[in-house]
Symmetry: C2
Subunit: 313 residues, 2 copies
């Protein structure tokens, strides 16, 4: 569940008086999401999403909130933050920092087709370009050092063959230099459940709370690894080609990026293998969600290790 802090219509009425979005018609908790409290807020003007931040502190929020505003100003399909009458995006309700955004059209699609993967690829490239002028900076807290430390903490609970694979692949990544590749703001978690599709169009990318500065190709790999994956951890070539062609129609990959692409696909798989291992073997106290299968990303990684065609041709 995702309502950690309860909000009543009586709480919300004075809060809404600080905004130009009308008066409350309906208030409804949102079940999705595992770290923040989210409500659908319907007013006389329209439909909005209210987030109460449960773990991020007010001083950490400007990077994310201003990024959302920046992307929305550029026409990227993402939630547009709404400022209050004090001209602030971040307000406070029931002791939590809050953000109010417009409600995006569309729904999560579990089994996207090639056309939908292409739309996501195109929007991702537009997002990478639009974010080039964003002035905020955030180091990636989930980079190679984190993968390595996380792996160390769970090796003793893993089968020997998997330990060997993980150690070898981490060592390979540690020897690989991506620092010459185009960088900028990446979403870093653009899985199917973090995008709303409105038919074949992208209604909106959501949940930017892993966004950070990193190599753009890393975002491409993370996104492909989820959107184009098959149940057995392989990649569907048709979806992958559609996704990559659409991405490159906006931002063609450089020669250096194409050369780095096979190993980057493995890096993106390693990132989520590591975090799923952690969630599986060391669940956070009080965590109510079911840990996702770490084996999925081990299989994605293995398929990438064995692959010879990477859909760029």
């Amino acid at each position: 569940m995702s309502v950690f802090t309860t909000v009543t219509p009586e709480d919300l009425a004075p809060f809404l008086k600080r905004y130009a979005i009308g008066t409350l018609v309906e208030l409804k908790g949102i079940a999705a999401g595992i770290t923040n409290t989210n409500y659908f807020v319907t007013t006389t003007h329209g439909r909005y999403v209210l987030t109460l931040f449960e773990t991020l502190q007010a001083e950490e929020l400007p990077f994310y909130v201003n990024l959302l505003a920046h992307l929305a100003h550029h026409g990227i399909a993402s939630a547009a933050p709404i400022a209050n009458f004090d001209d602030q995006y971040i307000d406070t309700l029931n002791g939590r920092p809050t953000l109010l955004v417009n409600c995006l059209p569309g729904r999560v699609v579990d089994s996207p087709n090639a056309q939908q993967c292409a739309q996501v690829g195109e929007m991702l490239a537009q997002m990478h370009l639009a974010a080039q002028s964003y002035s905020g900076r955030m180091d990636n807290p989930r980079g190679l050092a984190w993968w390595t430390a996380t792996a160390e903490s769970v090796y003793d609970q893993m089968p020997a063959a998997e330990v060997q694979q993980l150690r070898e692949q981490l060592a390979l990544q540690a020897q690989t230099d991506y620092s010459h590749l185009p960088a900028g703001i990446v979403h870093a978690d653009l899985f199917r459940d973090n995008a709303l599709l409105d038919g074949d169009k992208v209604g909106g990318f959501i949940d930017f709370y892993y966004a950070c500065n990193d190599v753009l190709l890393y975002d491409v790999a993370i996104t492909l690894n989820d959107w184009c994956v098959t149940e057995d951890g392989d990649i569907d070539a048709q979806r992958a080609r559609a996704f990559l062609a659409a991405y490159q129609s906006v931002r063609p990959l450089t020669v250096e990026e194409k050369a780095a692409w096979p190993l980057m696909l493995r890096a993106a798989a390693l990132r989520f293998w590591a975090s799923r291992l952690l969630d599986f073997h060391k669940p956070a106290a009080g965590e109510l969600t079911f840990a996702k299968d770490p084996g999925h990303f081990q299989r994605v990684l293995s398929k990438h290790q064995a692959r010879t065609d990477f859909w760029l041709g």
Copy 2:
């Protein structure tokens, strides 16, 4: 017509490459509007309006464009400017400064009902509050001095009785001090053709190019004089009460504003009587539009002069 500068799909393709809004699907000139060129631009991402400014210069635009952005950030139903990859709202196409905005829902309503007038009143009040934090400033170029000079230029073409009425009412306004009333950004031209209604909701206020700093009550009067008017220049009491009650549900008028209200209604009528007299008797060279009847606002003014109930009770 309102396409003064022709734009072809071939012109637009490289222009759109500077934006994150996809590629061109359809381009269509917009017939409404008399000072700028407007096109509907449909892309793979959605529908937008492209304005090419024909008379405003690039250095005059930031006030208007940043105002639109400010209002949109606050959730006011108005067009949201879209920034290009250089993070600029204002770009250039075919020698003209341009603005690209999202397309608003709804349509112009000629005969609004009381509920629609109420929605407009409520949104106008929200707009007045949201604009209080806007830092841009623009003096009203169409204030009392302009009405007076304009009247002087057309007295010799008007019937004696109307000259007398206009002189007397201008003299009365010149003796009236509104400087103690709440002020801020006003739209100053919120007629029925400058708002889109989406059913009973406000889809968007448009055409902010008369917006300026002035007394808020002046905007309320201008808007009421058009939205609640009957064909003979009288005001429909039901619509006027609904409009004012909704406005006051967001921003209650002060005692001073209520006292000033009867004369402010006349001031708002004088503003448009003067400009219509000018358009009628001294049409701009090459002006292709039909001048609207100045007599309409003379009748609105006369009705206000004879009125005893101003719908505030």
